[in-house]
């Protein structure tokens, strides 16, 4: 990559496709420089927009799940209308609808977006890079059990696997099963035990 100019004013976003091409990165870089040099945009505004994008995170999803584990009435509301139940916790929701899918002894749920990178960003933040990869997007629908095995989860054959493709307007959150000693843990401990992978469905047991 030709990189003979200085980037002191702003940190470049890294945008490359699966093949490692950085064409989009070069275009974004050039556009940003032009906008800043013409006074239409400041580096501070760019940084602010990035911070805003990055401020939601897994802690919000974990908060929702821990509440559902400890409050049966909340869990019912969450499964009925995910968006309204998330908003109850004063979490701003940008998604049209959030559908919460519950894991049980007989059922495991896995979330994917085969067409792009749809993800419940209001409650999980930005998706991990593997979620956006063409390999995950193709294989999560075609051979999901092999994908889960690569994440270290060998799902028993008698547990049904539902794969949810977020191809259109819905966004999905997996409600994992609570740990056996859920009643003995504090809400803070419960929240800390929940990982992003549990909420996408590439992990199942919450330790």
């Amino acid at each position: 990559m030709p990189h003979d100019h200085h980037h002191e004013e702003h940190e470049a976003l890294v945008i490359e496709d699966d093949a490692g091409n950085i064409e989009a990165q070069i275009i974004v870089d050039a556009l940003q420089e032009v906008l800043i040099s013409k006074g239409l945009l400041t580096a501070t505004e760019v940084t602010g927009a990035i911070a805003k994008l990055e401020s939601p995170g897994i802690h919000l999803g974990a908060q929702v799940v821990a509440r559902a584990w400890t409050d049966p009435a909340y869990k019912r509301r969450l499964l009925k209308d995910g968006r309204a139940a998330v908003q109850e916790l004063d979490i701003p929701v940008t998604e049209a609808r959030i559908i919460v899918v519950e894991n049980t002894d007989q059922l495991h749920n896995l979330i994917t977006c085969t067409l792009c990178s749809c993800y419940p960003r209001s409650i999980l933040g930005q998706p991990p890079s593997w979620y956006i990869s063409k390999a995950y997007r193709a294989r999560s629908v075609r051979e999901p059990r092999r994908v889960l095995a690569e994440f270290g989860l060998s799902l028993p054959h008698d547990v049904q696997l539902d794969v949810h493709d977020s191809n259109a307007d819905m966004r999905y959150l997996v409600l994992p099963q609570p740990p056996a000693d859920v009643a003995r843990r504090s809400v803070q401990e419960l929240e800390a035990s929940i990982s992003r992978d549990h909420l996408i469905g590439v992990a199942r047991e919450v330790a």
């Binding site: 794969v163 493709d165 191809n167 307007d169």
Partner: protein, 97 residues
């Protein structure tokens, strides 16, 4: 009144539309079961070209048996793929799955 309700058997059409189409190729021509109604949404095929004036359309969640989607793979019989399909991409299917 929606055209389909939960339990209905439907086939996904292959409309051959170009542009911002949200119905992936792997699900076209496939037959599955309506498992949920999502409400009405503006058609992304119109929104992508700046047309925000068209009527909102019904969106359904449809479940498909993985064994039927990928017969060459070794999926357990009960595993499902669930995806959202807009009304105009669906046709009623005759008979059982």
């Amino acid at each position: 009144m929606t055209r389909f309700s939960a339990g209905d058997i439907v086939t996904v059409l292959a409309l051959g539309k170009r542009g911002h189409v949200r119905i992936p190729h792997y699900i076209r021509h496939q037959t599955g079961e309506i498992v949920g109604y999502c409400g009405t949404y503006l058609n992304p095929e119109d929104l992508a070209v700046g047309n925000t004036g068209s009527r909102a359309i019904d969106l359904y969640r449809v479940a498909f048996a993985q064994t039927r989607l990928w017969p060459d793979e070794d999926h357990p019989a009960q595993d499902r793929l669930i995806i959202e399909i807009y009304d105009h991409w669906l046709a009623p299917a005759a008979g059982d799955l």
